[in-house]
């Protein structure tokens, strides 16, 4: 019985963290789409070399940034479980 309530508490905690993560991610990509969309299209049309550097930089930055965010959130979940 205690095990089951511990499991549902962990699941609840996980879902809360997932919701927080989803809010972060949605806010982030709407910002990216609204503020960078037009500019990226302009760079794509005008200067492919700059576009290539910007594209690679953006995806690497996002990769590292989201990795830090997900690791941080998972750490919070685990510490709550303990």
């Amino acid at each position: 019985m205690a095990g089951r309530s511990k499991k549902s508490a962990s699941l609840g905690s996980f879902l809360v963290e997932l919701a927080v993560y989803a809010v972060f991610v949605f806010a982030y990509f709407f910002l990216v789409l609204h503020f960078l969309g037009g500019w990226l299209k302009h760079v794509f049309d005008q200067n492919k070399t700059l576009y290539a550097f910007v594209a690679l930089g953006l995806i690497i930055t996002q990769g590292v940034g989201l990795e830090m965010l997900t690791t941080g959130l998972l750490r919070v979940i685990r510490s709550r479980e303990r």
């Binding site: 290539a52 690679l56 690497i60 990769g63 990795e67 998972l74």
Partner: protein, 305 residues
């Protein structure tokens, strides 16, 4: 939502969901997930040259996350990964040049789609056959706490034959448990994987991962981690060269990657609970699903939006 660079209209939620699914696949199987992401983008109406370049870009962000996780778990052979990355980059450029030629002749969509279907069905059939042979042998894999994971394959003799191929320089890969192997074998395997990566997009882990296990003789869990590490380097080059050629819609890649980031964490953790043949067996239906999506889009001309 309109993605101006590729001139396509796609619901971003679809992209996040696809990213999440391929993120789990990437972390679990050690493949970039292009066998699903590529066909899905094509099914959403993205032109095939953008499918190839954009999928490579999305793989960069995802492989950073998954490779770091596998490095922590001790699943990465750095020496092997660096050697493979060098040859893969040359292969990626070859594949990208083939795409450019097809673009000039206006038949990139059909040629790449047909090549994709052939490769996906071939890989799926081969792995299914190998798993069936391995299971028939009745060998059991075991993971014991404190001991290295053991990995069995019915066609392990193929790797042994390749390791007997003595064309200098010969190198050893202690992290992968390989005493001696010709450098040329590794370079050829990597180059071929690179061509597929540059031509079909993604990390081409569906070619390289089985090749690492069956030809080089790398244990499956090391092959998974090393492939992701190597893909992180070669896909960065692939993104750059395809972006220069106007084949990358980075906004699609960024949106897909948001879903992939958390999927990769879950997938990499799952590898701790499964071993060799089970990982390979679970892989079998996924390329077929991708092939089905491409065939549907080719035959009907319909796109999911």
């Amino acid at each position: 939502m309109n993605f101006l660079i590729s001139g396509t209209h796609i619901n971003p939620v679809y992209l996040i969901v696809i990213g999440f699914i391929v993120g789990i696949c990437g972390g679990f199987f050690g493949v970039g997930g292009s066998f699903l992401a590529g066909p899905a983008l094509f099914a959403f109406g993205v032109p095939m040259n953008f499918v190839v370049g954009t999928d490579l870009a999305h793989i960069v962000g995802k492989s950073i996350v998954a490779a770091k996780k596998h490095r922590t778990l001790g699943n990465v052979d750095i020496k092997l990964g660096l050697i493979m990355a060098a040859a893969t980059i040359i292969g990626v450029e070859t594949g990208a040049q083939i795409i450019q030629q097809l673009k000039r002749h206006n038949n990139v969509d059909v040629v790449v789609a047909i090549a994709f279907v052939i490769v996906l069905i071939g890989i799926s059939s081969f792995i299914a056959w190998e798993c069936w042979q391995t299971l028939k042998m009745g060998k059991k894999t075991s993971v014991t706490k404190g001991k290295p994971k053991r990995d069995h394959s019915a066609i392990a003799y193929i790797a042994k034959n390749f390791q007997r191929f003595h064309l200098p320089p010969m190198i050893s890969l202690p992290s992968s448990g390989i005493k001696q192997i010709s450098l040329w074998t590794i370079l050829v395997v990597s180059y071929i994987g690179g061509v597929f990566s540059g031509f079909l997009g993604g990390g081409a882990g569906y070619i390289r991962m089985p090749a690492m296990v069956y030809i080089l003789g790398v244990p499956t869990h090391i092959a998974v981690g090393t492939d992701l590490f190597e893909v992180m380097i070669s896909a960065s080059y692939g993104t750059f060269t395809h972006a220069l050629k106007g084949n990358v819609d980075i906004l699609i890649a960024l949106v897909m990657h948001t879903g992939a980031a958390i999927g990769a964490q879950i997938g990499a953790t799952l590898t701790q609970y499964f071993h060799g043949v089970r990982i390979r067996l679970a892989f079998v239906p996924l390329p077929l699903l991708g092939a089905g999506l491409i065939i549907y889009s080719l035959l009907t001309g319909h796109h999911f939006k």
